[in-house]
């Protein structure tokens, strides 16, 4: 499968280029950067720290779309909106990993998805998406007799708590139970808390060292407990998911898909 990487010189772009080059059945068929980028004309492989691939970094996204089976986009919101338009126009599926899209940019992606298959996900990690899907399913299945708690740990530099992924897991659990997270979230416990309120979804936050990110969802009832855990080890974790999405997209009808669709988690 021929894959194009827009924004191939960014931090995400370089990781994607390496992952695609190493994956069986996949081939890097082009890379772009913004006009005026100092990377233009350099070898796509070499600039990502690989052996040269014999393809120069270009600035013509349209030409890139013409040359590939699927495009992977981890760039900036305005660029992603434009790329979605090109994907629709040229019938080339797109994987959109860019976050922070404004309403009009998101609408551009959704409009494009009426004409071409697009996978969009704020977090492409296979493991995190698996956790999100199974948390919702388990919360629905196990019912209210199980107390749900979400524990996360991240490196000492992280400034917000709970992490975005922890909150997403909380929303998945709440959805499984058919409630709104805001109505049941217990984000802080300190002092005389009283007994745990039935139906609460509790959060606990740990910070320290260089932990890349760990999340545990706990379902606890009398005398037994189930835990589902995800531990990120490297920052390349999203690339494996993007690759799976690329292979999955082959031949899919137009539509806006999530990583849960890609992983078959319904």
């Amino acid at each position: 499968m021929k894959i194009g990487v827009v924004g191939c010189g960014g931090r995400m772009g370089r990781i994607l280029v390496s992952a695609i080059a190493a994956a069986e059945g996949c081939e890097i068929a082009g890379g772009t950067e913004a006009p005026l980028s100092p990377l233009l004309g350099q070898d796509v492989g070499a600039q990502a720290g690989l052996a040269p691939l014999g393809i120069a970094v270009g600035d013509d996204a349209q030409a890139l779309f013409r040359a590939v089976d699927v495009v992977v986009d981890f760039t900036a919101p305005d660029a992603t909106a434009r790329h979605a338009g090109l994907a629709a126009e040229m019938s080339v599926p797109l994987i959109a990993g860019t976050t922070g899209l404004a309403a009009n940019e998101q609408k551009a992606v959704e409009d494009a998805a009426r004409k071409v298959a697009i996978v969009q996900a704020a977090n492409m990690s296979v493991g995190v998406n698996l956790l999100l899907g199974l948390t919702e399913e388990t919360a629905a299945r196990l019912g209210d007799d199980y107390d749900i708690e979400i524990l996360e740990m991240h490196h000492r530099h992280k400034v917000d708590a709970p992490s975005g992924t922890a909150l997403a897991l909380g929303r998945a659990a709440a959805k499984g139970r058919g409630v709104e997270l805001d109505a049941v979230a217990k984000r802080v416990r300190d002092g005389h808390t009283g007994p745990r309120r039935a139906g609460d979804i509790g959060f606990a936050t740990l910070r320290g060292g260089d932990v890349a990110g760990e999340h545990t969802v706990i379902f606890a009832t009398e005398a037994s407990r189930i835990e589902i855990v995800h531990k990120a080890i490297s920052r390349s974790v999203f690339a494996g998911g993007a690759l799976r999405a690329a292979l999955w997209l082959d031949g899919k009808p137009p539509g806006l898909y999530s990583m849960r669709d890609v992983l078959g988690l319904g």
């Binding site: 296979v126 493991g127 388990t138 037994s224 531990k231 690339a239």
Partner: protein, 266 residues
Amino acid sequence: MKIGIFGCGGVVGRLLVREVVATEGCELSGGTGRPGGALIGVDVGEQAGLEPVGLAVSDDPRALMAASDVIIDFSLAPATVQHMLLAAETGCAVVLGTTGFGADAQAAVDRAAADAAIVEAPNTSPNFNYLLVLIERISGVLGDEYDAEVLSMAERRLPFAPSGTTIEVAKAVAAGRGVNLDDVIEKVRDGVIGPRPPGVIGIAIVRGGRIAGGQRAIFAGDDEVVEVAYRSTDPAIYAKGAVAAARWVVGKPPAKYSMREVFGLA
């Protein structure tokens, strides 16, 4: 419904006596103990910490089968072949909770299932059986690019390894990948073992304490790790699950059934 208990004087056996007596619609038809053991002739209820129920612990499993709609067997592995031959002979349904038996007993179970309804139930906890569903899903989504390991802890008195529960976990991992556990299981690591062969399912065994047990399936990828874990702290859950299985299996045609079928998780 008349329920008889093989091994009624054991840790789980005594809990079973109490559970059957306490469950509406169930009637205790008797219990057996090890022939020649100290419990033979003692009141089944009394030895389980209840008021006398007017039934003496017997050493005649055939007679108890004849007097029962279903047998719950939590005796010990050396008795399994005999118990299965009797099930085939009498057609009496059995919930087989005994674990740790060998290939000959396994063959006897499979043969008995032609003439009697047998629930093969190496772990009767509903949570544990839901865990197996999760493990199989996770294993299927992640595939063998993620190294799968099973870590298992059980109480100090368990005299064999891996336990039936551990094998269930490892089988769920193998089933998710569509492989046969016997072909990929790696049970012992000691000394210079060389790098981990791809595709194996490794098992590590921990023993200690009196009651608590836990299972953890670990899926370790290059960039992320997914784990699912289960802990239980009260064997009463096994008795509850076994009685649920007994009620479920009465009236079912001869065949081998699993606890996942009993709980509607298959």
